[in-house]
C-alpha cells in the first residue's frame, strides 16, 4: 500500500509544472565555467616561485594570465585577499571511479579476470558520478591516474580530471599500460607460501612475462611489415608499449624485484615509469642510474619488513629524491584519495622537504606523464586546475575555499558535507516536541 502510494505521489510530482519545483529544498549547484579573475592572492606557482598580491585570470578553461593589474573586464571577480592559489594536485596512482563500495563485488571494476588483459580500459570504466569523486575533488586533488589491477598486464591506466560526465570530458591526456612486475614479496600475513615457493613463483612469472613480451614484439614486427593479423586485442594493446607509443607503468615494490625490473627494462627501447616502489630507498642509486621516474606511495604505510626503521615508508620518497630519482607520490587509494596532500606532508617532514613534496603531487607527476605543458603549476597557458585555500593545502587546518578544474568552478559540496549540514544540528533533536 505504502509503496503504491509513494509511486502515485512520485508520478504526481513528475507531472507538476516546473514552478512547483522551486519548493524543493536545497537547490543543486552545478559546476560552472566562465571568465574568472582570482584577485590578489599569494600564488604558489610551484615552478616560478611564490608571488604575493598576484591575480590569476581564467578563461576558456585555461590560465590566461598570472600577474598584477590584470583587467577585470568581463570577468567574475573572486576576491582572494589573504588566500593562496595552488595548482590542482595530481595523484599518480589510484582506483578512483573504478569502485563504489569495496566489499560489494558488484561495484568493484578495477580487476578483470585473466593474466594478460592490457586492453582493459580504466577510462571507459570510470563512473563520473562515483561518490568518491566529489568527495575527493573538494580537497584540491583535481587529477588522478586511475589504475586497473589484477594479473601481470591487468589493463591500461588513464589520467582523469575530477569533473565531467563522460570519459572524454574527464580524460587528462595520458594513458599507460600497467605491468604488475613478478613479485618475490608476500601479499600479507595470510600469504603462507614457503620461501622456496615464493621464489619459484616469481621466477616462473618472470619467464612468462618474457614470453608474452616476445609475442608482443613479434606481433608488432608483423604488424609493421603489413602482415594480415588475426584479431588479437591483448597483443595489439601490449605492442603499443613495445613500440613506445604508450609508456609501461611497472608496479614494483620489493628491493630485489626493483633490481630485476631495472634489468628487465635494460635494452628495451620503451618508456617506463615505476609505481609503488616501497623499498626504493634500498636501491635508490640504481633507480637513479637507470633514469626511471617513480610514483611512490602510499607514504602513510607500514614498513615492509619487521626489522625496518619505523619511518622507512615516510622517508622513502626523500631518500630516492636525494639519490637523484624523479619522484611523484600516490595514495594507491580509492575512497580516500583526498589524503594525497597528507601523504606528501609526511614525506616532507621525513626528509623530502616541503617544496619537493609539493612538486611530488603537482609538477613532477605532470612531467613524468609528459603533460607538464598543461598541468602541474600556475602558469599562463596551462589548464585551469587550481585550488584557492586559506593556507598550505598539505596542512589539515587549512580550508580549501574553491577548486577549479578545466576552468570549471567546482561546487564545494558532496555527500559528506551535506550530511554535516543536515546533522550538525538535527531537527528534531532529542525530543520530537
Amino acid at each position: 500500500m505504502n509503496r503504491i502510494l509513494k509511486t502515485f505521489c512520485a508520478s504526481l510530482l513528475a507531472l507538476l509544472p516546473v514552478a512547483a519545483m522551486a519548493q524543493i529544498d536545497g537547490e543543486f549547484v552545478k559546476p560552472r565555467t566562465g571568465k574568472f579573475l582570482l584577485q590578489n592572492a599569494t600564488v604558489v606557482t610551484v615552478t616560478k616561485g611564490t608571488l604575493s598580491n598576484t591575480s590569476v585570470l581564467v578563461e576558456n578553461g585555461k590560465i590566461s594570465q598570472v600577474g598584477t593589474g590584470i583587467s577585470a573586464d568581463g570577468a567574475e571577480v573572486i576576491d582572494c585577499t589573504g588566500m593562496f592559489i595552488y595548482p590542482g594536485m595530481i595523484d599518480g596512482g589510484t582506483r578512483l571511479g573504478l569502485v563504489e563500495v569495496s566489499s560489494v563485488p558488484e561495484t568493484v571494476d578495477y580487476a578483470e579476470l585473466g593474466n594478460v588483459t592490457p586492453n582493459m580500459q580504466a577510462l571507459t570504466t570510470v563512473n563520473p558520478n562515483a561518490e568518491a569523486i566529489s568527495v575527493t575533488r573538494v580537497s584540491g586533488v583535481t587529477t588522478v591516474l586511475t589504475v586497473p589491477t589484477g594479473g601481470l598486464f591487468p589493463g591500461t591506466a588513464a589520467l582523469i580530471n575530477l569533473n565531467g560526465y563522460t570519459p572524454d570530458q574527464m580524460y587528462g591526456g595520458f594513458k599507460a599500460i600497467v605491468m604488475n612486475f613478478p613479485s618475490s614479496g608476500r601479499r600479507g600475513r595470510f600469504d603462507r607460501r614457503s620461501e622456496e615457493d615464493v621464489k619459484k613463483d616469481s621466477e616462473k612469472a618472470l619467464k612468462e612475462a618474457n614470453e608474452i613480451w616476445e609475442n608482443a614484439k613479434n606481433y608488432l614486427t608483423l604488424k609493421k611489415a603489413g602482415a594480415e593479423l588475426q584479431y588479437y586485442p591483448e597483443m595489439d594493446q601490449l605492442s603499443k608499449a613495445v613500440s613506445g607509443e604508450l609508456p609501461l607503468l611497472i608496479v614494483v615494490d620489493a628491493a630485489s624485484d626493483i633490481q630485476n625490473a631495472i634489468k628487465w627494462v635494460e635494452g628495451k627501447d620503451i618508456k617506463v615509469i615505476f609505481s609503488g616502489v616501497a623499498e626504493g630507498w634500498r636501491v635508490a642509486d640504481e633507480i637513479a642510474k637507470a633514469g626511471i621516474p617513480v610514483i611512490t606511495g602510499p607514504v602513510q604505510e607500514l614498513p615492509t619488513r619487521q626489522s625496518d626503521r619505523y619511518d622507512t615508508p615516510y622517508a622513502n620518497a626523500g631518500k630516492m629524491a636525494k639519490a637523484g630519482v624523479k619522484v611523484a607520490i600516490r595514495t594507491d587509494e580509492e575512497e580516500n584519495v583526498r589524503n594525497l596532500p597528507f601523504h606528501a606532508a609526511f614525506a616532507a617532514a621525513y626528509g623530502l622537504g616541503k617544496e619537493e613534496a609539493l612538486k611530488a603531487i603537482t609538477i613532477n607527476p605532470a612531467e613524468i606523464f609528459g603533460i607538464a605543458d598543461q598541468y602541474g603549476s600556475v602558469e599562463a597557458g596551462k589548464r585551469a586546475n587550481l585550488i584557492i585555500s586559506t593556507g598550505d593545502p598539505l596542512e589539515t587546518k587549512s580550508q580549501i575555499i574553491h577548486v577549479l578544474i578545466d576552468g570549471y568552478m567546482i561546487p564545494m559540496s558532496n555527500r559528506h558535507i551535506r550530511l554535516y549540514q543536515e546533522f550538525l544540528e538535527r531537527s528534531p533533536g532529542l525530543k520530537v516536541n
Partner: protein, 462 residues
Amino acid sequence: MKKLNFILAALLGMGLNYSQAQTPKGSVLIKNATVLTVTKGNLENTDVLVQDGVIKQVGQNLSAPSGGQTIDASGKFLMPGIIDAHSHVALDVVNEASSPIVAEVRMKDVVNPFEIGIYRALAGGVTISHAMHGSANVVGGQNATLKHRWGSDDPAEIIMQDAPRTIKFALGENPTRVHGRGNNIQPRTRMGVEAVLRNGFNEALQYKKNWESYNSAKGQKGNTMTPPAFNDRLQTLADILDGKIIIHCHSYRADEIYMLINVAKDFGITKLVFQHTNEGFKVAPEIAEYTMGASVFADWWAYKMEVYYSTAFNAAILQRNGVITSINSDSAELIRHLYHEAAKTQRYGGLTDDEALAMITINPAKQLGIDDKVGSIEVGKQADLVIFEGHPLSSYAVPQMTFVDGVKYFDIKADTDDQRQFVSATEMVEPVYLHAEEDHQCLQDVDAYFEAFQGAFLEETL
C-alpha cells in the same frame, strides 16, 4: 611436549598475578617546552617534573629530580601520551569466533609484548592502547588496556593493571556474516543481533537470580540447595549488568546504535561506548544523552556497505552535540599517526586545538575509565608524555620522545635500524610484506568460516 607447554602456560598465568607489583617508573625533568596540557590550557616555556613515574610539578624554573635526567625541550611541544581506544596491536589472536557470545575469553591471555607494533606506536606518540577482541561476535571477549612498556618480556607488565574491565560487542555486518551467513545460526540479521543480546542478558539475569537464591539460602538452617553450576560466560554478562565492565561496541549504522542504547536502557546498563560509529552523527543527541561516547575513525568510509553513508565530519558533529568523542586506529598503521588523524577534525568541522587533542588523550581515557590516571598533563597523573617537533596537529609534526610512567621508550635520536625484541630463529629470510600486513584486523582469524571467500575478504573487514 604439549603437556609441557600447558605447564609453562599455567606458570605464566601465575606470573600474571604476581608480577603486577613493579613496573618501571622514571624520574625526569622536561624543560622549556610548550606544554599542551589538554585540560588546563597551553603553557609556554614551561617545565614538567616527573618523579617515580608521576607528574610532580608543572611550572617554571623547576630543578632536576634526584637521579633523573633533564631534557631541554626548547622550541618543542609536550603533550600527554596518546591513547588509542581501539587497537589490535600486541595480540597473538583477535577473534574467538566460535559462538555469537564469547564473553568469557580474555585478551590479556594473548598479549604479546614482543610485537614490533608496540614500538612503532610509541614512535607515533601512543603510550596506551585498548587491545580489543575482534568483531566476529555480538558479545566478544574482554579487552586489555595496554601500557606500551616496550622491552618487557612479561605480558603482565604491559597490561595496565589499574584499568577497569572492558568488553567488546559488535553489531551489523560482521557478526551476521560470521554466524548467520558463515555458520547458519542466529544472527543473520540486525533483528537477530538484538535477539542475541536480549536473550543473553535475560539468561544472565536468571543465572544471577539462581546464585542469589543459593547465597541467601546458604546460611539458613536445613538448607539442602546445591550451588548452581559456575558459568564464566554468564557471570561476565552478569558483571556487565552490575556495572563492573564497560561495553565497547563495534557499530556503524544509526539504527543499530539506537537499538543498543535501548537494550542498555532496558537492562539498566550505563557503561557503554560505541566504536567506529560511522553513522553516530545521525543519532548524536541520543549518544550524548545516554552513553560514554563514541570512538571513531577520522575519515574511513566506503570500504563496506554499512559505512557507505559516512561523513568525515562525524567527529565534529558528535563533539558539537556533546558526545565524548575519540579518534581511534583499529590499525597497526593508523596507530602510528593518531595525532594527524585527530588533526583532520580541523579540516572537517573546524574543531579547536584542544578539542582535537582531547580526542586522542583525555576523551579516550574517559571511555576506558582511566581519566583519573592519564590523558592530560596534570600534577598527580601518570607521566605518559610525548615531545613533538612542530605542533602535533601539524601535518609536518614529528614525534621526538615518548615516555610511559616517566621512562623513555622512544627517542628519535636513539632509533636504530632493527628494534625487534624477538627474532624468530626458524625464519631464514625475513619476509617482505607488500600490503599492510597488520591492517584491518577486526575480523582476523575467522578465515576458516569463509573458505568460499578464499581469504579475499581479509582486506575488507573492520
